[in-house]
């Protein structure tokens, strides 16, 4: 491990990669601050840039920096404007915004930055411990287990994404898998479902789909319903200091939430949003009576908890990506797509075949967190000026960048029409409360899922692998339970609510 650390440090500290981290964090903060643009959209927009760098470590470092920056930027707009740019920072606005209204915006930002730094760094430490262990287990996996594991991942994402409406999340996953079968598969070298259209031969572009699912609907939502939070803020942010007593109060919160957030982040489908809400709720419940009164009115603990948890969870979500090659969230799914485009296949072999990538990413997490703390924090008053860009200019530029991203990826104007078409469909799906992340994750995992399924079918000459390999069977049973349990529990709760007696 020490050797790996040194390799990682060496890679991450090269001038180019340091610039990547710093640049990524700045860009991420900058765009993440804009209300309505989440980390998924930002990373999707940055992918063409990352891919054209060519060096996978540098690209991944850049994207990871953007990811952190986006989360940090999101908390800045939550605190200053009560307009969270990212779902994961909604909980930060509960106490951050009241603090800003009391004139303590600078203090709130400092607490957010320190909490994020601690959450991210402790998360990265945990990642260093758990990822190698998990990937040595994963090396024992066979393609049948991989197939089963992906099914587990997809069903977990569906089960978590659609609270109370698992069917909707599942059908989105299936739709993603269906879209992944369009084009020429690696296994058969036969074009499938292209309807004779040449442009579909290579399948749908992943960047196009990512933009259409996230960036475009968000921009359209901004057009449809202008957020009116602007202009409440007078632009003066001062007094960034916190007192010793305050530091003492938030230290245990940060410690607890780093661990809790990390482990929630590791679970597929849970991610930063759930971690931050849960962190807020837990800290509120265990606080003393007087402190509980404070929550929601500008409690520093109430700000530190979600901030720590969401950063730790972001780090945690890298565990399944780096060790199993299975993304647990929409953002890591986009990262996976970028890695595959760069000819890197994340998974248990990554640590053996290309240790420099794995360790460089981990090292860059530390550096990224440090950059956010010492570079971004003093710059915040200036970066916050981006919030005063009038939307008349902002929205055309966002739309232009989505178009550019889709075009650069494929160099094909048909891709732009697909982008608009899918974007309209995605907006309609959002209106009807269909979750979109499962679709993209299904799309990205589709190819691998089918390949592993096909390989196991060929080895066992049929579907025998399902019952001949106990681990596969076990994983598939878990996947089934994940899907069935939420609807079963919802049903029981409803029956009970209606006064109908049930068995137990």
């Amino acid at each position: 491990m020490l050797e790996g650390l040194l390799i990682g440090l060496q890679t991450a500290l090269s001038l180019q990669n340091l610039l990547m981290v710093i640049g990524g964090c700045l860009i991420g903060t900058f765009i993440g601050m804009l209300p309505g643009l989440g980390p998924m959209s930002i990373i999707a927009i940055m992918i063409p840039v990352a891919i054209s760098i060519g060096d996978p470590s540098a690209a991944l470092i850049l994207l990871a920096g953007v990811y952190y920056g986006a989360i940090f930027g999101g908390s800045t707009s939550s605190i200053l404007l009560n307009a969270p740019g990212v779902a994961g920072t909604v909980a930060s606005s509960f106490d951050g915004y009241p603090m800003a209204k009391q004139g303590k915006a600078g203090k709130a930002l400092t607490i957010a930055a320190i909490a994020s730094f601690a959450g991210g760094s402790i998360g990265a430490l945990l990642l260093m411990v758990f990822a190698p262990a998990l990937s040595s287990v994963a090396l024992l996996f066979h393609s049948a287990e991989y197939f089963a594991l992906m099914v587990v991942g997809l069903s977990a994402i569906a089960a978590f994404a659609g609270t109370g409406q698992v069917a909707k999340a599942l059908i989105m996953t299936i739709l993603g898998l269906i879209m992944a079968t369009v084009g020429e598969g690696a296994l058969f070298n036969l074009p499938r479902f292209t309807m004779g259209i040449m442009d579909l031969q290579s399948g749908f572009g992943f960047v196009t789909l990512a933009m259409a699912m996230f960036a475009l609907p968000e921009a359209l939502f901004l057009v449809l319903k202008p957020k009116t939070a602007q202009a409440e803020q007078d632009g003066e942010i001062k007094d960034l200091r916190i007192t010793k007593a305050e530091a003492k109060a938030i230290a245990p919160v940060i410690g607890r939430q780093s661990f809790q957030g990390f482990f929630i982040g590791v679970l597929p489908g849970a991610g930063a949003t759930i971690a931050s809400f849960l962190g807020y709720a837990v800290e509120r419940n265990i606080a003393t009576k007087e402190e509980q009164e404070e929550f929601g009115k500008g409690s520093i603990k109430g700000l530190a908890a979600p901030e720590t948890a969401n950063n730790a969870a972001c780090t945690g979500s890298f565990v399944p990506l780096l060790t199993l090659g299975i993304p647990g969230s929409g953002t890591t799914a986009i990262l996976l797509g970028a890695l595959i485009a760069l000819n890197v296949t994340p998974g248990p072999r990554l640590m053996i075949d290309e240790p420099q990538i794995f360790w460089a990413v981990i090292m860059s997490m530390f550096i990224g967190n440090l950059v956010l703390l010492i570079l971004n924090l003093p710059l915040i008053p200036y970066i916050a000026k981006v919030l005063s860009i009038p939307r008349n200019y902002l929205i055309p530029f966002i739309l232009f960048f989505t178009l550019m991203g889709a075009y650069i990826g494929q160099n094909n104007a048909t891709e732009l029409l697909l982008l608009v078409g899918f974007g309209v469909c995605a907006t309609a799906l959002r209106f009807a409360d269909y979750p979109l992340a499962p679709l993209l994750i299904g799309f990205i995992l589709g190819g691998m899922l089918e390949d592993n399924f096909a390989r196991s079918m060929q080895l066992y000459d049929g579907v025998g692998f399902i019952w001949e390999r106990p681990m596969t069977l076990g994983l598939l049973v878990i996947a089934g339970l994940l899907v069935v349990l939420p609807s079963y529990r919802a049903r029981r709760a409803r029956l009970r609510a209606e006064g109908v007696a049930d068995g137990d």
């Binding site: 109370g164 698992v166 055309p396 160099n411 269909y434 060929q458």
Partner: protein, 160 residues
Amino acid sequence: MALDRWIALILVGICLAYGYAAWFTMDGGLAPFMKRNPIWPSTFPKVLSVIGLLLSLVILLGLEKSELKVAEIDYRRLGEYKLGQALMLLALMVAYALCLRPMGFIFSTGAFLILGSFILGERKWLVMVSVSLIATLIVWYLVQQVLGIYLRPLPGFIGG
């Protein structure tokens, strides 16, 4: 019928069409030696079409009860939002897609950015034109020179 069930109806259609293609049109052209394979190119799509059909029927028939949350934007009152602007911007994006190759990058992008802010209600022409042109040139320079991706800068008839 609520929007989510209309969408489920469309999804049923998609799954049926996809399933038809998978079950009835794909296996005919398969080479004889591939037919001895336990897995065919159509195997996985067949499975997907069946699961997809079942799931979309579950939503269509409302078998899974869920309280309807009002999303960030209530589609039933779509008229109250700035729908016109959104539709015009979408049309502008389509126009951009069609113009990018024949008209060249600089003209199309400049026009896109200017018209985009115009649709959103901006009327300061001087600011609009200068911001758009500067941004267009910067992006063109970055993409073409730094990233090395060819973008035709000028309309074809000028020889760009």
